[in-house]
């Protein structure tokens, strides 16, 4: 049990730090979050820089500890996050790498790494969010194509995406988990309509996607027909894990800024607020330790050092640590920005303030990527072994 990094890991950190220091001053200003084409251009340019410097595939091939260091250092340096490349780099890419044919890997993976193509996720539907297996978008085989009809929702980056990882129902008579198929949908295909949705934070974060008899070549199917649920579980297993590493680093920075702001405006004299910030300091420190624990566990598993166990007797169930982490992190993030509102006083009503905008967006954290209620069911059933029920 140690927290010391190896020589190789320290060398990687030093090299990355030097590179970040040299390139970050050359980046243009960040685009308006409501301007999707500008966001896409900015995020893909950053991915191209990572590609040219040899860091593009850090999410795919690198050892878990290297990925941790990458995310920690890029956030600490204030570098851009994956942004519009999120689905391609963290969901679709890894899924195709594991489940795709050699031709599919050759077709789709290099453009993701180079920042040439952007993906979005077509899983959720208006009537199938937390209960994903109840989705109704249909795909009917017609010659060499699937003909797809239905609607998807909460699709981030849909306005600017080239591809969509699409989950469709190919066998309506099969049990609901068994009749699903995973397709790569070209977003410029005839019959695809994107309608942006405005979030409560005022940004166009995601969209509805309507599919009206869209023809998708059967060669775009990843995995077997009707085996889409299993492929999707592969995708979702990439979703948790280290996805929030950079954010925890950022939250710790914001917490320090809150304390300094409170001291500057006199609210630091309020012991209740002070103690609240102190408690958050402990929470985010522990979340960081939980990340280090989960990453070490993943590294041990990757190195084949046998079955490892997460703390709390989770018995080595994959992804369990991720659910535990996400449950606490999503609430801590909301508590952080609630505390920010208290520091800001009347300024908390200014939606133009960075902390207020982040307070609004933090409300999505207990919903996206599996609501807290679903995460609690996962922890209770898969880790603690409580019976399924309602």
């Amino acid at each position: 049990m140690d927290l010391a990094y190896t020589e190789e890991e320290r060398a990687f950190r030093a090299r990355l730090r030097d590179w970040l220091a040299s390139v970050l001053p050359t980046l243009p200003a960040r685009p308006d979050p409501r301007d999707w084409p500008a966001r896409r251009a900015y995020d893909t340019a950053w991915q191209r820089m990572l590609y040219d410097a040899g860091y593009a595939d850090v999410h795919w091939d690198a050892a878990p500890t290297i990925r941790l260091i990458f995310l920690e250092e890029t956030e600490r340096a204030g570098a851009p996050y994956v942004g519009a490349n999120f689905v391609g780099l963290l969901h679709a890419g890894p899924t195709i790498a594991v489940e795709g044919t050699p031709a599919q890997r050759q077709r789709w993976l290099p453009p993701v790494l180079r920042g040439d193509e952007v993906w979005c996720q077509g899983f959720s539907e208006p009537d199938a969010g937390s209960d994903l297996a109840s989705l109704r978008t249909r795909a009917v085989r017609d010659g060499d194509d699937y003909v797809v009809t239905g609607a998807k929702i909460w699709t981030s980056h849909a306005e600017v995406a080239d591809w969509c990882e699409l989950l469709v129902r190919t066998d309506p008579d099969a049990p609901r988990h068994r009749g699903l198929t995973w397709l790569a949908l070209p977003m410029d295909a005839p019959g695809v309509t994107v309608r942006p949705l405005r979030t409560l934070a005022g940004t166009a974060e995601f969209a509805e996607v309507f599919l009206d008899e869209v023809r998708v070549p059967a060669g775009n199917r990843v995995g077997a027909e009707n085996d889409g649920w299993r492929v999707t579980m592969v995708t979702l297993s990439f979703e948790r894990g280290t996805a929030f590493v950079g954010e925890v680093v950022a939250c710790r920075r914001v917490l320090g800024a809150l304390a300094r702001a409170a001291r500057a405006n006199g609210r630091w004299d309020d012991a209740v607020l002070r103690r609240r910030l102190g408690r958050l300091n402990a929470d985010f420190a522990a979340l960081w330790r939980l990340i280090q624990w989960n990453v070490s566990e993943a590294a041990a598993a990757a190195a084949g050092r046998g079955a490892s166990t997460a703390p709390g007797g989770s018995g080595g169930v994959p992804g369990a640590g991720g659910s535990v982490f996400k449950l606490r992190y999503s609430h801590a993030r909301q508590e952080l920005y609630d505390a920010a509102a208290e520091v800001l006083g009347a300024g908390a009503l200014d939606a133009g303030h960075e902390w207020v905008a982040d307070r609004l967006s933090s409300l999505s954290y207990t919903i996206a990527a599996g609501t807290s209620q679903i995460q609690q069911n996962i922890v209770a059933e898969r880790i603690l072994g409580l019976p399924k029920g309602r």
Binding site: D2, A286, V379
Partner: protein, 325 residues
């Protein structure tokens, strides 16, 4: 970075659990409730097993392990609800004669606390007072900082009915400071006492998750196990989240030995132990409110530990101050 238990650490944890299961199982726990005097035979057995000499160097007859190993052992002690001046004896082994072997016992008091409390006053062969070395405001400047020993019969104390039936308590009203005790300095003693106390809280927090889950799987209502109800599931899931957060923090603090890491770990561990015991009690329903279930013993001990070696208010203030340092 390998922030995981090593094979040896896992073996130590499992071995300790087995040892405590065998020598301080459920029956013995219940017998101890009726007869809270320290079981000297058990104490000697623990001493013989190396329980107190864990961190003493091998050339001094110890096991030669470090703080992370001590934390694992204390987590098991917390899980088993093992009573006695455990923290004091672990920290004073090799400093006070006979403690390492479990032949004699020593108590440890926080001189700078609001009230100087003494655990197991009738059972300590020696009493040690730690003054200063803390971060909080009560360590007024100019006040003596040091570690002092005294024979228990020279200390003035008033026993009172302890909320934890397994931990007799007294208020120390006068402590004649004998010779300063050589060995660890006050800040280190306090830090390590807080960490080992936090480790016991983690063990208790994990044990109450297991107890709640076990009960929720067996107890049926409306024709199904109550653990199939989301309301009960979600209580249990949150208990695990608290326990794992606290455990990560406590393990990391054992590695870094940083004062602030320990402070944060103790804060989270206190919360995990207390709130998990309460939720466990809730899952047990009416049965949880009786003397028959053991959960009340976890709750009462968790309250006691939370009141020692740094309470929440002090910890939160210290962690807040760190943000602007």
């Amino acid at each position: 970075m390998r922030f995981q238990l090593t094979e040896e650490q896992r073996a130590l944890r499992d071995g300790t659990r087995k040892l405590l299961d065998g020598r301080f199982g459920r029956d013995r726990l219940r017998a101890a409730v009726d007869e809270p005097a320290l079981d000297r035979a058990l104490w000697r057995e623990l001493g013989a097993a190396g329980f107190f000499a864990l961190r003493l160097p091998e050339e001094a007859g110890g096991v030669g392990l470090g703080l992370p190993e001590a934390v694992l052992v204390f987590e098991e002690a917390g899980r088993a609800l093992l009573p006695g001046p455990l923290v004091a004896c672990e920290l004073l082994a090799g400093v006070v004669d006979g403690v390492a072997a479990g032949e004699r016992t020593a108590g440890l008091c926080e001189g700078s606390a609001e009230e100087v409390l003494w655990e197991h006053p009738a059972d300590c062969d020696e009493l040690i007072l730690v003054e200063g070395g803390g971060r909080d405001a009560r360590d007024a400047p100019g006040r003596a900082e040091g570690v002092y020993r005294s024979a228990p019969d020279r200390v003035a104390w008033t026993p009172f009915a302890s909320v934890d039936p397994l931990t007799p308590l007294a208020r120390v009203t006068d402590f004649p400071r004998g010779a300063p005790l050589g060995g660890p300095d006050p800040s280190r003693l306090r830090r390590e006492a807080a960490l080992l106390t936090a480790a016991q809280q983690v063990g208790s927090a994990v044990r109450t998750v297991e107890a709640a889950v076990g009960h929720a799987r067996e107890r049926t209502q409306f024709g199904v196990p109550i653990g199939s109800f989301q309301a009960v599931k979600h209580l249990c899931a949150q208990m695990l989240v608290r326990a794992e957060m606290a455990r990560s923090a406590v393990y990391a603090a054992a590695v870094t030995e940083g004062a602030l890491d320990v402070t944060g770990a103790k804060l989270l561990a206190d919360e995990a132990a207390v709130r998990n015991a309460r939720d466990c009690l809730q899952v047990h329903g009416g049965m949880g409110f009786t003397w028959e279930a053991e959960v009340h013993l976890h709750l009462k001990r968790a309250w006691l530990r939370a009141a020692r070696w740094g309470v929440a208010a002090e910890a939160e203030e210290a962690l807040a101050a760190d943000l602007i340092d």
